[in-house]
């Protein structure tokens, strides 16, 4: 609870406090209602969601918002949550179609549209705050912005990134200049317009929220219906075109969905940050999944959570803009995904690397033991059916064979012993077990097949080949080994071939 107060009081503490606030909200969701009863509830009773005073919410207010007991709150929170969900779905396709920046340009280009629509409605005497008019203005200018990119791209030699940077900044500048004009107009109160920059769900009326809720629901349904078609053009547009799918129209449909999410998100997320709601959730989801459907679902959930927390926190705290909170929640999910993601997260990647290194070291250890036995005349070890104990090799000798540290070596020995591949003896020597011999035979065999291939087919010098083979042998797949076997014709299957080079002189450090 204290964390939430901290978040609302000191903006300096930023992200972490907001996360704690978000967590506090989850706690409150599961808390029984009497907890929210508070002494000063009468004083604050009747405060509306549109109130802009910065006051700390009471427990009762928090409870009301979280349990959505207020009709207005229900629509606002529901609308923004749905917006997050739809953005997560649409954003997946936007990301995979590699159009992330286009969406950002689109969002910025809506700004002069909003201000112009406001000026025009004021000019004809209306209040200027009609949401539908403002959103229509935003849509028109968003589309004009896109057309400008196309125009610059197709008539000049400027590249896409330059065209986008120009359109984005010019349109945003135009909007900002027009805000200045409005403030000098006699009727002018552009206060409401500034919320379009950072977004504030709390300023929404129930009617705005309802419009948004249904429109966003439509967007979500549309993108689910077009799931197959959109995934096709994202993966392979050329093939889709050859198959007769109307690429241009499907692209337009995708951009239409993006325009809808952007424009509908203006009031709650704001034009500066709405692109984050489109891009961060799918980018985070990609760390967890290698399949489009799973990725889309995870992205939708991320967007939904971001929207929910953004809307509730903004509804509770008068001056808290929604967009930044949404972005922070999404960013927290993103960072967690980037680190923990099972498919391509940093930890998963590092673990994969570590496993690979450990496997490489194990291969080296077994091969060294095997080759030592070979060199010291114990031919028995090269025969698969023989169960005589293999000779012991001292750790010091093994350490000198390669450029591994004694720590590496000890670790490898420990792992190999656990896997029952080697036995270690009291006099600092180790020997292969029966399982170890089998595994060593497989490894040495792969190594030599590959060496032979390199010498005969890739023209690698025999003195270099051990080193070359070292790099690749650990990743040889079953298919490749079979091919190597067929190339190394005349060899007895399942036997270890002799080394193609002198074992004594060439064991260069790997």
């Amino acid at each position: 609870m204290i964390a939430l107060w901290g978040a609302t009081r000191s903006p300096r503490r930023g992200g972490r406090s907001c996360l704690s606030g978000a967590l506090a909200l989850i706690v409150m969701l599961v808390c029984p209602a009497p907890v929210f009863a508070s002494a000063d509830q009468e004083k604050r009773a009747g405060r509306s969601i549109n109130d802009t005073r910065l006051e700390m919410p009471t427990w009762q207010e928090i409870g009301r918002v979280v349990r959505l007991s207020d009709a207005n709150t229900r629509w606002v929170v529901g609308g923004v949550t749905m917006l997050g969900l739809a953005a997560g779905i649409v954003g997946t396709f936007l990301l995979l179609r590699k159009r992330a920046l286009t969406a950002d340009v689109l969002a910025h280009a809506t700004f002069p549209g909003v201000t112009l629509a406001f000026m025009m409605t004021v000019a004809i005497g209306a209040s200027g705050k009609s949401m539908l008019t403002l959103l229509i203005g935003a849509t028109v200018f968003g589309v004009i912005g896109m057309l400008c990119i196309l125009l610059i791209r197709n008539t000049t030699r400027l590249k896409d990134d330059a065209a986008m940077a120009i359109v984005l900044s010019v349109f945003f500048g135009l909007g900002a200049a027009m805000i200045g004009l409005i403030q000098n107009m006699p009727v002018g109160s552009a206060a409401g317009l500034q919320t379009f920059i950072f977004g504030k769900a709390a300023t929404m009326l129930a009617s705005d929220a309802m419009l948004m809720f249904w429109a966003v629901l439509g967007v979500a349904i549309m993108s689910i219906l077009l799931f197959k078609e959109l995934s096709l053009i994202c993966f392979d547009a050329q093939y889709a075109a050859a198959q007769g799918w109307p690429i241009v129209r499907l692209d337009l449909a995708l951009m239409g969905l993006v325009v809808a999410v952007t424009v509908l998100g203006l009031q709650s997320v704001g034009l500066l940050l709405v692109v984050a709601l489109l891009i961060i959730p799918p980018a985070a989801a990609r760390f967890w999944s290698d399949r489009l459907l799973t990725m889309t679902i995870l992205s939708a959930i991320t967007g939904l959570l971001s929207g929910y927390f953004g809307a509730t926190i903004s509804a509770l705290v008068g001056r808290m803009p929604t967009g930044p909170i949404i972005v922070i929640v999404a960013a927290v999910v993103f960072v967690i995904s980037m680190v923990m993601g099972t498919k391509r997260g940093v930890i998963a990647h590092a673990a994969h690397q570590a496993r690979f290194r450990a496997r490489t070291r194990r291969h080296h250890l077994l091969r060294d033991l095997f080759e030592w036995a070979e060199q010291h005349g114990d031919a028995a070890t090269t025969e698969p059916d023989d169960h005589r104990p293999t000779p012991r090799v001292s750790l010091d000798h093994l350490l000198n064979l390669r450029s591994w540290s004694s720590g590496d070596l000890r670790r490898s020995v420990r792992h190999a012993r656990r896997a029952d591949l080697v036995t270690d003896h009291l006099d600092r020597t180790i020997s292969l077990t029966d399982t170890g011999v089998m595994e060593a035979q497989r490894i040495v065999r792969n190594h030599r097949l590959w060496e032979t291939y390199l010498i005969t087919h890739a023209d690698v010098a025999a003195s270099q080949v051990d080193h070359e083979a070292d790099r690749i042998e650990h990743v040889l797949g079953r298919e490749l080994v079979m091919q190597l076997e067929s190339i190394a014709a005349g060899r007895q299957p399942y036997r270890v071939p002799p080394s193609p080079h002198d074992l004594g002189q060439s064991s260069p450090a790997n």
Binding site: L96, N154, L225, L226, K228, E229, S231, L232, C234, F235, D236, Q238, Y239, A241, A242, Q243, G244, W245, P246, I247, V248, R286, S289, D290, R291, L292, T294, M295, E479, Q483
Partner: protein
């Protein structure tokens, strides 16, 4: 302007599908007076060609000869400056279901979150139609196609985890699952290991045995006589075409590869410059 032109599909739009009749005697692919230019640079110049039915045809020529462009033009992916292309006697957009396309492997992002089976299933999307989900029947067909190219074990692998040869086989399976009559393949052997190349050649021969026509853009001159019944030697214009034994001669190859800019192609370029400026 974009060089790709997108025609509307009859089937994808829910309209009637005109069934092409491969037995009607019309050539699987008939190109007449075709000229194509990218921006102002001509790529194909006055190409006339009728592909023979039921043959394995190699399309051979140097880099930039317009081999890929020829295939892509036949598929309506490239705008024609002039000329006509017919598939089994009809415009391509009427008989799309009769043509299987294997694009170059480099044209897609293999990091895409999708597995091999899903890629192959894309070959059935047109049969499935707008907005409808993929059903078990289509997934079974895709699995069968993966089986045919020896990739059934890799169906659930994310495509980035496949080797180049395996990726190429997935693309091939996507074309096979369409059960087309004419197959157009853009360098299916590029970046492929020897074993995969042999496997792909066997699949192409099986297709031919089943009466299909297969046209392959091919780079490796050494294997042309072994793989193909017919060749089309191309260098912006058709240098020669016909049975490999007759056409694949040193003189013809010299005409195709030697002297990149022949007098005709220089004239063509000059004409195109004059015509468009």
């Amino acid at each position: 302007m974009s060089t790709t032109e997108v025609k509307h599909s009859t089937a994808a739009d829910g309209g009637p599908v005109v069934t092409g009749d491969p037995a009607s005697g019309a050539a699987p692919l008939s190109i007449h007076d075709l000229t194509v230019a990218y921006h102002r640079k001509p790529v194909l110049w006055d190409v006339d060609y009728d592909a023979p039915a039921g043959k394995l045809v190699g399309i051979v020529g140097p880099n930039g000869a317009g081999k890929s462009t020829l295939i892509r033009t036949a598929l309506d992916l490239v705008r024609r400056a002039s000329g006509s292309v017919n598939v089994f006697g009809r415009p391509y957009r009427r008989v799309r279901h009769l043509v299987g396309y294997v694009p170059q492997r480099e044209t897609v992002d293999w990091d895409f979150p999708i597995n091999a089976l899903d890629v192959v299933t894309m070959g059935r999307y047109r049969k499935i139609g707008w907005c409808l989900p993929v059903t078990g029947q289509h997934r079974t067909a895709a699995m069968d196609a993966l089986q045919r190219v020896g990739m059934a074990d890799y169906a659930r692998r994310q495509i980035a985890q496949l080797s180049g040869g395996q990726q190429q086989r997935v693309f091939l399976a996507r074309a096979l699952v369409q059960d087309a009559q004419l197959y157009l393949m853009d360098e299916p052997f590029s970046g492929v290991d020897a074993a995969t190349e042999r496997a792909i050649v066997q699949i192409l021969r099986d297709l031919r045995s089943a009466g299909k026509t297969v046209m392959v853009v091919h780079h490796d001159l050494q294997t042309v006589p072994e793989y193909f019944d017919h060749v089309l030697l191309l260098n912006m214009r058709v240098v020669a075409h016909g049975p490999t034994a007759e056409i694949f001669t040193p003189e013809n190859l010299h005409k195709t590869y030697g002297g990149r800019l022949t007098l005709l192609s220089q004239a063509a370029e000059a004409f195109a410059r004059g015509g468009q400026r």
